[in-house]
Symmetry: C2
Subunit: 143 residues, 2 copies
C-alpha cells in the first residue's frame, strides 16, 4: 500500500485523481500496477482497478485471476467491484472508504447482492488516513 | 437492435456468449460496435458494453459520451452499468432482462442508488424475445 501511495502521488502530479491499484498473485508477485488514467486516456472508465485487472488478464492470458489480490488506495466503484467479481479475484484490500462513489461498502454494494456470483474476501481501511488525505489534498487544490 | 442480433449470432459462432452492443451519437452515427470478447481476449471483463464505451471514448478523444445512446442485447451487469454512468451516457436501450446477472433492473440496480452521479434514460425489453432466445439457445447447446 505504501508503494501504491507513491504511485497515487505520481498520478496527482500528472493531473489524474490520485488513486492507484495493483494485482498481486498467490506468490506475492506484482502482475500489474497502475494509477487512474482518465485524463491521459480521455476515458472516464480508465480507473486504476480496471486497468490492472485487464492488464493482469492480458499478461497471463487467462480470463480469471482466482489466486490474486487486488490492492487499491480507495474503495472501488460498482464498475471496478463487478470487474473484480467477474475475474474471480480472491481478495480485495482497499485504503480509504468512499461514501460518495464506492460500490463495495456503499451504494450498489456489489458483493452483497444475491445475484453476485463471486464475492472476494474484503479488507477495507488499510492506511485509510494516508490514502484519504491524498485525495482530499488533490481536490482542495483543484477548487 | 436487428444489426446487433446479427453481431451476437457471429459471437456465438466464435464461442463467445452472444451479446452485442453499440454506441450511437446524437446524429445516429455508430461510433463503436462489438460483441463479447471474453474468450478471444481471455479477459472476463471484455463485455460488449465496456468494449464499445472504451472504443467510443478512444475514437472521439473524449472522456464523456453525454450525447450518446448505448444499445445492447442484454441488460448490462453492474460493471457495464457503472461504466455507462461514468461516461455520462444519455440513454441506454437493452433487449432481454437478466434477473441473474443484470445490474440495472436487478441486483446492484446501479442507476437507482442515491450515490449514482449520472443515471441515463433506460429503455428495457426492446426485441426482448429475440435477444433472450439467442442466449437460451447458446447455453442449451453448451450443456
Amino acid at each position: 500500500m505504501t508503494q501504491l501511495l507513491a504511485l497515487a502521488v505520481e498520478a496527482a502530479r500528472k493531473g489524474e485523481v490520485p488513486i492507484a491499484a495493483a494485482i498481486i498473485d498467490a506468490n506475492g508477485v506484482v502482475l500489474a500496477r497502475a494509477h487512474n488514467e482518465v485524463e491521459a486516456r480521455r476515458d472516464a472508465t480508465a480507473h486504476a482497478e480496471l486497468l490492472v485487472i485487464q492488464e493482469a488478464c492480458r499478461m497471463r492470458g487467462e480470463k480469471y485471476l482466482g489466486d490474486c489480490t487486488l490492492y487499491v488506495t480507495l474503495e472501488p466503484c460498482a464498475m471496478c467491484a463487478q470487474a473484480a467479481s467477474l475475474v474471480k479475484i480472491r481478495s480485495l484490500v482497499f485504503g480509504a472508504y468512499d461514501p460518495k462513489g464506492g460500490g463495495v461498502e456503499h451504494g450498489a454494494r456489489v458483493f452483497a447482492q444475491p445475484t453476485c456470483h463471486h464475492a472476494p474476501e474484503v479488507i477495507g481501511g488499510m492506511m485509510e488516513a494516508e490514502c484519504g488525505a491524498l485525495l482530499k489534498d488533490f481536490f482542495a487544490k483543484k477548487r
